[in-house]
């Protein structure tokens, strides 16, 4: 059953369209993520769902009840949504336990206390219950914010750039932890971030946003391996575009060889020789699609290299002058300017129609 449904939601400030016709849905217990560069409208979308902004068209439903549509915005405090803010927005005058218990009904003190203890145990802060927020580290504050949002058992948790104030190592560890906590509480959650590593580590489903629209709503695996358009291909992961000619409905010829894949042009002809259209496409090649092979007849010149520890990321110059990226185990240490043998190792590639 769908916990959260957005149906063609639009919002603009003055003449500037912030989000247009945004639609997606999250099943109960699922973790979703809106991923995009800053200014793509993802935070506005989150604020609309939270009830801090009205929507101008479309509708938002939580647990099958409409909470937002033009002319109706259910107050934020009545939505039963938990929110985790970028700056955590903890209450500085309350202890950790006071913060976590803030949203719990005050009538039933023993139950509230039990719930606070349960959550502090869950986020691993039981021994800090009586400290004040400023006495905690950034990562601890973050977990207090999450516990506070989870405490009243909300139907939905919203997190706005939850790890942007933390250093890089902590981010990865904490995002795995947060996913674990959310799954254990069986909470539906929607996260907004510009960091794809965070999105991939946390979410079941990710929506890549650009200019107020969702470009693709899919699993992390599919976003990387089956991007729906150039923006997604470019934004998610590394890679280059290599020009190719369409041979038939499933094959493209590039200077690295003939590849199988989805061809975005309608091709029903028997072959390019007989066809007057001469369709050109760009093929997406990830760094792991090109492997180093000393015996390969295909040669490329090392133009640049970046040491990554276990491997090198080589930028290669192909005979035609086009560039390609290749991940190579780091014991293959080649100098810039050297020619090395390469081979394609892509069983299935993505091609985009050339503009």
């Amino acid at each position: 059953m769908d916990e959260l449904v957005l149906d063609a939601v639009s919002q603009s400030y003055g003449t500037r369209q912030i989000i247009s016709s945004l639609s997606f849905h999250l099943a109960r217990g699922e973790i979703g993520c809106l991923l995009g560069p800053s200014g793509c409208g993802k935070t506005t979308a989150l604020r609309c769902i939270a009830g801090f902004e009205p929507v101008q068209s479309g509708s938002i439903c939580i647990a099958a009840a409409t909470v937002s549509r033009p002319g109706l915005t259910l107050a934020a405090e009545k939505r039963r949504i938990g929110m985790v803010f970028q700056d955590y927005a903890l209450f500085p005058h309350l202890t950790v336990a006071g913060n976590v218990g803030f949203g719990l009904p005050q009538r039933n003190q023993p139950a509230a206390k039990a719930r606070v203890d349960e959550l502090l145990g869950l986020v691993g802060l039981a021994q800090h219950a009586l400290k004040y927020p400023h006495q905690l580290s950034g990562g601890q504050q973050q977990r207090v914010a999450l516990a506070r949002a989870l405490a009243p058992r909300p139907r939905l948790i919203l997190m706005d750039e939850p790890f942007s104030n933390l250093d890089v190592e902590l981010r990865e560890r904490l995002s795995i932890e947060v996913r674990d906590i959310l799954k254990r509480e069986a909470t539906t959650a929607l996260i907004v971030t510009h960091d794809q590593h965070e999105a991939f580590a946390l979410a079941d489903r990710v929506g890549v946003m650009h200019q107020g629209r969702i470009q693709q709503w899919d699993t992390p695996y599919n976003l990387y391996h089956r991007p729906a358009n150039r923006f997604v291909a470019d934004f998610v992961g590394q890679g280059v575009m290599l020009s190719g000619d369409v041979l038939n409905s499933r094959q493209v010829r590039t200077e690295l060889g003939v590849l199988d894949g989805q061809i975005p042009v309608d091709c029903s002809s028997g072959g390019c020789q007989a066809c007057p259209r001469s369709c050109g496409v760009d093929v997406l090649l990830r760094p792991d699609d090109i492997v180093h092979d000393d015996d390969s007849p295909l040669q490329a010149e090392v133009e640049n290299k970046a040491f990554r520890g276990a491997e090198f990321l080589y930028t290669l110059k192909l005979p035609s002058g086009q560039r390609a990226l290749s991940l190579v185990p780091s014991h293959h240490n080649h100098a810039i300017g050297e020619k090395i043998g390469i081979r394609l190792s892509a069983d299935h590639v993505i091609a985009f129609r050339r503009d």
Binding site: A75, F91, H93, L94, G103, H134, R148, A149
Partner: protein, 545 residues
């Protein structure tokens, strides 16, 4: 932004407070419609020229005095290392607790012809012919010693945040330290210094007690005399309007300096290397700063203590306790009023942000620049007029004359306190409220907290320290306040400050000591609060933006 202006509670409230500030200005200027020719001729011929000359020299002298004292002390404390620096850092603020009128009568007592210094020199050494203390130079010296902390406080901040970096940059470009100070650090700190000097000059224009002790006629004493000796309210109001012109010039300069300060901020205060003075220089610096502190605070307070020792037995009577009680009651009432209105005004700004609201707040907090004498006259006149209207209405509708309803009450006084000290209370509350981010509000709402509960559960607890600061600062300012209390107090409401005025105007210095000491002791509270909070600010938790 909404296209159409709709009146609502928050906007109405803010503009009502702003209007209250504009009332005395309008009343003062409209007094020119009722020309009292004989009084005006008298004023124009004998009084006004002298007032203008006196005010001019006073502003020039005090301006120079506080600049030199404030900037030099700030530089030494912020940038150099010398014996006693840590203590002097906050001790140099102590003169803020001492109202200038107290320093004034102590100085006259000590330095007068019959005072201890001149007597000693005359009898012991045969030295005579010291300059007269009751002179222009005397007033200027006393006011400079009393008001330099305004410049010191703000210039010290400026030097601490940008001084070291500016100086190091200058040195790296080949300038010597003294040249670096005059060519880089001082010009960079100019907006700060100007703002501090303007605050000191506003206090100078507003001062009543000091010039009254010295018999040095300025606009404030002239307003008092016009009202209580000539019984001419219009004349008092006309004098007030001239004074307002001076004040507005100072306000404009101050506000412009503040605007420049925003662009001038270079970096954060860093614990960078201080200039280490040589041994000799260090003791010289200590001697200079110590001497200022001695003259501006230690000696006057010592003298007060000595006097109190002698007079306490006689003066600690029931009347003294009633003065104290009145002072405490009025200060508490005024502080509560100021904090309440300040909170509402700050809250209005949060609820209805926009250019209109910024202007309403700016005007509403402009009253700090208005001398108490101006406010007393400017608010008494309309309230008296309202009273007469009420009496006429009573006569017409109920057939009996009735008595004055408002005139004999605390109304005028409290309104004047509100206008004069609203900025003092509004400042800390507003900055406290601005530190509560929108996210905190939204976090509370998403946890089921309604807007009505937000104030009680989140905002007030988070604002507690700001509210306390605002209340303490206002309380002490009202305690020290002299002209408003003197001119608008209802019969029987004599306070400590009024007692000081009465005793000093009869030359009974030693009997003014006990009430003065009480005022000074209360005045030390906010200074301790200020230093304590500045110290505490460094230990506050991480701030996220």
């Amino acid at each position: 932004m909404t296209a159409r202006w709709r009146p609502d509670g928050w906007r109405l409230l803010s503009w009502a407070v702003a209007a209250l500030v504009l009332v005395p200005v309008l009343v003062s200027f409209s007094s020119f419609t009722q020309l009292d020719r004989t009084t005006l001729a008298h004023l124009g011929e004998f009084v006004l020229p002298e007032l203008l000359v006196n005010t001019f020299w006073l502003l020039l002298g005090v301006g120079l005095g506080v600049s030199v004292l404030g900037v030099s002390l700030a530089w030494l404390v912020a940038m150099c290392e010398f014996p006693g620096r840590r203590v002097l850092d906050w001790a140099l603020l102590l003169p803020l607790a001492l109202p200038a009128y107290v320093t004034a009568f102590v100085a006259i007592d000590l330095l007068d012809f019959s005072g201890p210094l001149q007597s000693w020199l005359r009898n012991g050494w045969g030295i005579t012919g010291l300059p007269e203390v009751r002179s222009r130079a005397g007033v200027i010296a006393v006011m400079s010693l009393a008001l330099y902390p305004y410049v010191y406080l703000i210039a010290k901040n400026a030097f601490a945040t940008q001084g070291a970096m500016a100086l190091e940059a200058a040195q790296s470009l080949g300038l010597s330290r003294p040249r670096g100070f005059f060519k880089v650090a001082l010009p960079m700190a100019r907006p700060w210094i100007a703002a501090g000097v303007m605050l000191a000059l506003m206090e100078t224009l507003a001062d009543f007690g000091t010039v009254a002790v010295f018999n040095y006629d300025t606009f404030t004493t002239a307003i008092y005399k016009a009202w209580y000796s000539l019984f001419s309210l219009p004349a008092a109001a006309q004098l007030a309007s001239v004074l307002i012109m001076f004040v507005l010039i100072a306000v404009v300069i101050e506000q412009r300096s503040r605007a420049q300060m925003r662009f001038g901020a270079v970096g954060r205060a860093s614990a960078s290397r201080r200039i280490t003075l040589t041994r000799q220089q260090g003791w010289l610096a200590f001697g200079y700063a110590g001497a200022v502190l001695l003259l501006a605070f230690v000696i006057p307070v010592g003298r007060l203590l000595l006097w109190t020792w002698h007079t306490a037995a006689r003066d600690l009577d029931a009347r003294y306790w009633s003065f104290t009680l009145h002072s405490l009651m009025l200060s508490a009432l005024g502080a509560m009023l100021v904090v309440a209105v300040g909170l509402l005004l700050a809250y209005a700004g949060r609820q209805r942000a926009g250019t209109g609201m910024v202007w309403a707040q700016r005007i509403a907090t402009l009253g700090y620049a208005f001398p108490g004498a101006v406010l007393a006259v400017g608010l008494f006149i309309p309230v008296a007029a309202l009273d007469n209207l009420l009496m006429d209405a009573g006569r017409a509708w109920f057939g009996f004359a009735g008595t004055e309803v408002l005139k004999g009450t605390l109304l005028v006084m409290l309104l004047a306190y509100l206008v004069r000290f609203l900025a003092v209370g509004f400042g800390p509350i507003d900055s406290g409220l601005q530190r509560i981010t929108r996210n905190v509000d939204e976090a509370a709402r998403s946890l089921g907290c309604s807007s009505a509960h937000l104030l009680g559960r989140v905002h007030l607890p988070m604002l507690r320290l700001s509210l306390q600061t605002a209340a303490a600062l206002t309380f002490v300012d009202i305690m020290k306040e002299m002209p408003i209390t003197l001119m608008t107090r209802p019969f029987g409401w004599d306070t400590l400050a009024v007692r000081v005025f009465e005793m000093t105007s009869e030359g009974e210095w030693e009997r003014a000591a006990l009430p003065s000491l009480a005022i000074v002791l209360t005045g030390i509270i906010p200074i301790l609060l200020l230093t304590w909070r500045n110290g505490a600010a460094h230990h506050e938790g991480p701030k996220h933006g």
